[in-house]
Amino acid sequence: MIAEIGHYALVLALALALIQGSVPVVGARLRDPALMGVADIAAFAQFAFVAVAFAALTVLYVSSDFSVVNVFENSHSAKPLIYKITGVWGNHEGSMLLWVLILSVFGALVAFFGSNLPATLRANVLGVQSWIAAAFYLFILATSNPFARLPQAPFEGRDLNPILQDVGLAVHPPLLYLGYVGFSISFSFAVAALIEGKIDAAWARWVRPWTLAAWMFLTLGIAMGSYWAYYELGWGGWWFWDPVENASLMPWIAGTALLHSAVVMEKRNALKVWTVLLSILAFSLSLLGTFLVRSGVLTSVHTFATDPTRGVFILAILVLFIGGSLALYAWRAPLLKQGGIFAPISREGALVFNNLLLTTALATVFVGTLYPLALESLTGEKISVGAPFFNATFGPLFVPLLLAVPFGPLLAWKRGDLLGAAQRLMVAFAAGLVAIAVTFAIIRGGPVLAPFAIGLAVYVMVGALVDLVERIQLFRQPVGISLRRARGLPRSVFGTALAHFGLGVSLLGIIGESSYNAEQILAMKPGQTVSVRDYDVTFDGVVSRQGPNYRELVAKFVVRQDGEIVGTLDPSKRSFTARGMATSEAALLTRGFSQLYISLGDPGTDGAIAVRLYHKPLVLLIWIGTLIMVLGGALSLSDRRLRVGAPKPAKKSALQPAE
C-alpha cells in the first residue's frame, strides 16, 4: 500500500507540474494575477507530493519491504538503520527521486521567498522550473519507477554495495544534487528573463544568492566525494579526473564563473548577455552530468546502445532543455541592452579575465571528458583521456588565474590602477618569495617546480587578506578602531577574502600531497617496524571482529616518533556476507595538517600482510580550504543587501507631488 501511495503521489506531482508549467506562464502573458497566483500554490503542493513519495520509499527501506524491487535489490534487513535510510538514494531510481525532491524544494523556496519579485517574473520562473520538474517526473515514472513490485516477495534483500555503506558517501549525493539542482533556479531565472526580454541589475541581485547557495552545496559535495575516495578506496588518491568527477566539476566551474559575472551585472549592469548564457550553461552542464552518470554511456558506448531507454530519455531531456534554452537565447539575447562601460584594467576587467580562464578550463574538461565518447561513436576507435591530459592542460590555465585572484578586489570599478594594486600586494609577493626560499632551504627532493607552487599558494592566501586589512586599517589604527571598521564592512567583503584565502589553502594542500608524498609498500610480519619520513610504524598483529553485517580482520599498528608513541592505526579488511564482497578500510592518523595513511592488502601464508603506508604532508588542507571557501560563500550570502532584497524603482505616480 505504501509503495502505491508513493507512486500515486508522484503521478499527482507530475499533473501539478504540468499545470504550474502552463497556467502561470499564460497568466504572465495576459497579466492576469489570478492565473499567475496558481504558481505559488502549485509549487508548494508539488513539494508536498514529492515529499510524500520520498517518505514512502524511505518507509519501505526502513521496514525492509522486499516486495518492492528497488528495496530488494539495494537493502538487507541486517543493515544498520542509517544505511537503510541512505540506501534510498544509493541506487538509480532512488537517487532520481532525491533529484526531483530537491528540485521541488527549490521551487517551493522560490515561491516562499519570491514575494519581492515582480509578479510576471515570478510566474515565469516557477513555470520554467516546473517544465524541468515535469520532464524528470516523466523520466522516473516511465523508465525508473522506484515503487515497482515483485510478484513474489523474497525473504531477504541483496544488500547495498558495501562501498556505499559509508557516512561520507551517504551525504555526498544529496549535497551534490543540492548544487546541481540549485543551478536550475538561475537557469529558470535566465529563461524567464529571455521570455520577458527584460533584464536588469535587480535580476542579478535575485539570482546571485541562489547561485551562491547552489555553488556552496556543490563545492561541499565535490569535496566530500573527494575525501570519501581518499579514505575509502585505499590508495589515498583524492581526484582522478574521472568522467564522473568531471561531470560534477563542469557545473562547478561554470557556477564559479557565473558568481563572478553576476557581481559585474549587479554592480555595474554590464555583461548581461554573458551572465544569462552562463546561467544556462551551469544548469545545462548539471543536466549533462546527470546524463553521463545515469545513462551508462560512460561504462561503454555499447552498454548505452544495448539498453538505451533511460539514456535516450535523459538525452531527449538534455536536447530539449539545452537546445531550447540556447535557441531562445540566440533569439532573445540581442534584445537585452548592454549597460555599464569599463576599461580593460578595472574590477570588471579582472572579473572578465576570471571568466575567460574559467571558461577555457571548462572547455578543457568538457572536451577531455566527451572526446573519447564522440570519437568512439563516430569512428569506433577507442582512446583514453586521463589524468596526464588534464594535468597538462588544466594546470597551466590556473597559474595566471591564481596570480590574478588577489588583484580583483583591489582594482576599482570602471577603471583600475594596476600598478597601484601591485604595490599594495607587495606584502603578498614578499610572502610568496619567502615561502619559495624557505621551501628550497628546508625540503630536499620533490619536483623542482613545487616550491614555486607553494609560493603561489602563499601569495594567494596573503593577497586575499590585503584588501580586508587595508579596509579596516589594521596595523595603522588602534585595534579598537580597526574592529569598529570591520563591523561596518559589508559581509560580502569578508566572504570574498575568505573564499580566495580558502583557494590558496586548498592549493597548498594539493601541492603538499602531490609533490611530497612518501610511501612504503611491503609485506609486514607481526613485530616488524617500518619507517616513513620520521615516523616508525610497528605491526602488532591482527584480530577479528564481527560487525552488524560484516566480519572484519583488524591489523594493529603502533606509530612512534623519536621513540615516543604518537598514536595507533587500525586498518581493516571487511567481508560482507550478503554480497560476498570485501572492502579494505584504511586507517588515518592526523598530525597537524598532515596524515599517516595505511591500508591492507592480502595476508600471505607466512603470517605476513601486504601493507601500503603513506605520509601525506598537508593533505587535510585540500578539504579545509574548500570548507573555508564555502564559509566565505555563507558570509557573502548573509550580506545585508541580499537579505533586504533588490531595490525596486519607486512608482512615479506616488512620487508626484499633489498639486
Partner: protein, 161 residues
C-alpha cells in the same frame, strides 16, 4: 550520481579477491627502475576499469600490465619503447595521455582555440564598447577623446559654423 561510481563497478568486479594497487612482490630491487616503472604505470590505463591507471587499480589485468612494464624496464627498454610496446599490443586505448595525431588534434588544440577565441571576442567587445561610449553623449564614465576623434569633432564643429 554517486561520484566515482565507476570505481565501484571496477571494485565490485574485482574486490572478491581484494588486493592493493602495487603489491610488495611486484616491486623491483633497483629503486631507479622501480621509480621509472611507477611513473610509466601512472600513464597507462587499466583497460577493464574506467579511467583508472594500472598504478591505482586492483584489477588482475592491471597487475599483469604492471608486471609487464617492469619486465620491459628490466630488459633495458627506454620509456618510449615500453609505451610503444604496450600501444602495439593494446592500441591507443591503453594510453591515459593521448598521443597527438590526426584523430586527437582537435582534443589537444581545443583549449588553446577556446582561449584564443575568448581573447578575440573580448577585444572586439572592448572595442565596440569604446566606440559605443564615444557615440553616447555623456556616458557615465567620461573618457578623453582620441586624437582622431578630436579631429573629427573639430571638423564637425567647423562644418556647422
Amino acid at each position: 550520481m554517486t561520484a566515482l561510481r565507476h570505481l565501484l563497478v571496477c571494485l565490485a568486479l574485482f574486490i572478491a579477491s581484494p588486493a592493493l594497487a602495487v603489491l610488495p612482490d611486484e616491486i623491483l630491487n633497483d629503486p631507479a627502475l622501480e621509480a621509472r616503472a611507477r611513473a610509466l604505470s601512472r600513464e597507462l590505463r587499466c583497460m577493464v576499469c574506467q579511467n583508472q591507471s594500472i598504478d591505482d587499480s586492483d584489477a588482475p589485468l592491471a597487475r599483469d600490465l604492471r608486471l609487464l612494464v617492469r619486465e620491459r624496464v628490466q630488459a633495458g627498454d627506454s620509456d618510449s619503447e615500453v609505451m610503444d610496446f604496450l600501444t602495439a599490443r593494446y592500441g591507443d586505448f591503453v594510453l591515459l595521455n593521448p598521443r597527438f595525431n590526426a584523430r586527437t588534434a582537435l582534443l589537444w588544440s581545443l583549449p588553446a582555440l577556446v582561449l584564443l577565441g575568448g581573447i578575440v571576442a573580448l577585444v572586439v567587445f572592448l572595442r565596440r564598447q569604446r566606440s559605443a561610449q564615444a557615440g553616447a553623449d555623456g556616458g557615465d564614465s567620461a573618457q578623453a577623446l582620441t586624437a582622431k576623434e578630436q579631429k573629427r569633432l573639430a571638423e564637425l564643429v567647423d562644418g556647422q559654423i
